[in-house]
């Protein structure tokens, strides 16, 4: 409840104020009419008295009998309201009467008025012509004190007050009736609404009470609303239950699926491990016979080639055998390399990326001293990475760049850093042969080559190795390029957080 009044109290106030106002108006009207009544009653009584005295006193005036006239006037002493009275004949006071203690009427102010009567302040004066047989004899006046009217008025006001106060009290009592009939059902409804919203119990109903039509309508509507809410609530509950069941089912399904996946993953990892072990051992084991083939081919060439026991054709075939074995050895090396990258544990440290890249570039330049490549490396690049693996990454990326700029007269390679999403992104850019962007996603798979062996030599394992290293670092690698206009390789190294 706020500072505003309750409905019941407002209604009570309203009825008290309205009945009070009505009472006041009625009382005032009554008082006014009573006052008028008393005044006119006084006037009528005084006029009849004056008429009577005017008739009685006529003969005394007629016969110039002032004593008799005075005696008649003195009968007025039985009327205490009469202040003074007098008979005026030809401008002179013929006979007079004045209440004991009252000022004697002055002849002067009695004559001027021709009115039958006049009210003046607290006094009322009535005038009557005295005549006999139509002969005017003089003028009679009687002046009365109206202060007793004031007394009457006060008495009446007191009585009115005594009536009005109990009436007001009764009005207050009666005003409690609508309070019962209107306020109570509303309060009940309000507390019910509060209870409903507190306990979320929509099954309760407001009792239909005999009350004002609007209140009854309110209760009915409230109950209808409750019914509706109850229905909706039930629907919502049902939907929620269904949804929950669905979530549980899905979760269970997902769990099963996850378990399957994990199982599959484990199987896959095991298979992968086996495969790696297998490929490692195969590569390793293949080396020995390969070396034997190469070694014996070399021996055959040196011992039999120069002694002419082998003709030119034999020498050529042997040279082909040697080239084949060397290439196979290279392949095996790369495969071993790739397997090693996977098997080695990751050891992160703060690496001077600029130094690593520069060293690799210098090695490349030394090995290919016949080529001039302008290689620019951004200074002060640092990263948290496995320095050995990062060296392999640069060997591959810079090696590729070196290799694919082989046909370029003005070969350029840039190593630098940008950032994406707050993470440092390293890049290696060249202005070499580039590649068809449609095959960009195939670049990082092993043994995938986009260029002809005769054009650019290579095993197709380098970028697969790079991808594996970057993946192990938790980073991403990507490439962008266009056939004939260079390529850029981007990679991140993860582990930032």
């Amino acid at each position: 409840m706020s500072s505003s009044l309750s409905i019941g109290r407002q209604l009570a106030w309203l009825s008290v104020v309205s009945s009070g106002a009505a009472l006041l108006a009625a009382s005032l009207a009554l008082l006014y009419f009573q006052l008028q009544e008393v005044r006119s009653g006084t006037l009528v009584r005084l006029e009849s008295v004056t008429d009577l005295i005017a008739f009685n006193i006529a003969s005394a005036v007629d016969f110039n009998d002032a004593q008799a006239a005075t005696a008649i006037l003195s009968a007025l002493k039985t009327r205490p309201a009469v202040i003074s009275a007098g008979v005026v004949v030809k401008g002179r006071v013929f006979a007079g009467y004045s209440r004991p203690g009252a000022r004697v009427a002055e002849g002067g102010d009695l004559l001027m008025t021709s009115a039958a009567s006049r009210f003046k302040e607290q006094e009322l004066t009535v005038y009557r012509r005295i005549s006999s047989e139509g002969r005017p004899l003089g003028m009679l006046f009687i002046r009365v004190d109206l202060s007793d009217i004031g007394q009457t008025w006060r008495r009446f006001a007191l009585i009115t007050g005594l009536v009005a106060i109990p009436a007001l009290l009764i009005a207050i009592l009666i005003s409690q009736l609508p309070r019962r009939a209107i306020s109570r059902p509303i309060l009940k409804l309000a507390s019910l609404a509060a209870a409903v919203s507190d306990r979320k119990d929509y099954s309760v109903r407001a009792p239909t009470v005999k009350s004002a039509a609007e209140i009854e309508q309110l209760v009915i509507t409230f109950n209808q609303m409750l019914t509706e809410i109850q229905g909706q609530h039930a629907e919502i509950e049902e939907a929620r239950a269904k949804l929950e069941q669905r979530v549980i089912d899905r979760t269970r399904e997902l769990e099963a699926r996850t378990e399957q996946l994990e199982e599959r993953g484990r199987e896959l990892a095991a298979a992968n491990g086996e495969l790696e072990a297998f490929s490692y051992s195969v590569s390793h084991d293949l080396r020995a016979p390969l070396r034997a083939i190469d070694g014996f081919s070399k021996a055959l060439l040196s011992e039999y080639g120069e002694d002419r026991k082998l003709d030119q054709r034999g020498i050529h075939f042997l040279a082909r055998v040697r080239a084949g074995t060397q290439r196979m050895s290279l392949l095996i090396d790369d495969m071993l390399h790739l397997a090693q990258v996977t098997r080695r544990p990751l050891e992160r440290s703060d690496v001077d990326v600029t130094a690593v890249a520069a060293e690799v570039a210098a090695e490349l330049a030394r090995r290919n001293s016949d080529r001039l490549v302008r290689c620019t490396i951004e200074p002060d690049l640092r990263a948290s990475a496995d320095s050995h693996l990062l060296t392999i990454v640069f060997e591959n990326l810079l090696g590729n760049a070196w290799k694919f700029t082989g046909l370029q007269e003005d070969a350029r390679i840039d190593v630098g850093q940008t950032s994406a999403g707050g993470e440092p992104v390293f890049f290696v850019r060249d202005n070499g042969a580039g590649f068809d962007a449609a095959y960009a996603d195939r670049l990082f798979s092993p043994f995938q080559r986009l260029h002809d062996e005769s054009e650019f030599e290579g095993t197709g394992i380098g970028l697969a190795t790079v991808k594996r290293i970057i993946t192990r670092h938790g980073g991403l690698v990507s490439a962008e390029g266009k056939e004939g206009s260079g390529a850029t390789f981007y990679f991140t190294l993860g582990g930032m957080s």
Binding site: F55, N56, A58, S59, A60, D62, F63, N64, D65, A66, Q67, A68, T70, A71, I72, G86, V89, R92, V93, F94, A95, G96, G107, S132, E133, R135
Partner: protein, 189 residues
């Protein structure tokens, strides 16, 4: 009795009340007042309807004996009427003539013949007025009296007025000293 007290009281109250004093010391002035009274008596008395007079018959005021009014009475009644009847004044010498009048003023000159006059008019609807001493007490209807302070007052013999069916109004009676004619009867025997 009450009347007498008022009479006496008037002397005591005279100073405090506003009383128009009309001096009647001079004889002329006295009879002017008396003339006015005579006319006014006529207006306060009702004659019996059996008299059978109509409006066209004049109202006759007779002055029996030596007329003391001079022109005063005729001046008073000039242009006046009594119940619509024109007033006529007649000087009469004999009581018999009074029978044809409605009102007779018995002059003090007839003081000695008073019993005879009253006997002649006894039971007749003629209002008798006189300033002879003890007129009402002796059987007259209205007797005029001059008070010590020179005011004119009157006594009424109610029985004498009512005997022939005349009626004096209460307004008139309240001003008069009411006397009976018992003493008058006594005086006759």
């Amino acid at each position: 009795m009450q009347r007498r007290m008022l009479w006496r009281g008037s002397f005591l109250m005279a100073a405090g009340l506003f009383i128009a004093r009309i001096g009647v010391a001079a004889t002329g002035a006295e009879y002017q007042v008396k003339a006015a009274f005579i006319y006014k008596f006529a207006t306060y008395v009702r004659w019996p309807a059996t008299t059978g007079v109509d409006v066209n018959t004049p109202f006759v005021i007779g002055v029996l004996g030596k007329d003391p009014f001079g022109s005063a009475l005729s001046e008073v009644v000039r242009g006046q009427s009594v119940q619509g009847r024109v007033i006529v004044i007649r000087n009469i010498g004999r009581p018999e003539e009074a029978l044809r009048c409605d009102l007779v003023f018995v002059s003090s000159s007839e003081r000695s013949n008073l019993q005879q006059i009253l006997a002649a008019l006894r039971g007749v609807p003629v209002l008798t007025v006189s300033d002879v001493d003890q007129f009402a007490e002796q059987g007259g209807m209205i007797g005029l009296v001059t008070t010590e302070d020179d005011h004119i007052r009157f006594s009424i013999n109610k029985a004498a007025i009512e005997r022939p069916g005349l009626r004096a109004s209460s307004q008139l009676l309240q001003l008069a000293r009411i006397v009976g004619d018992a003493e008058a009867d006594r005086g006759r025997h």
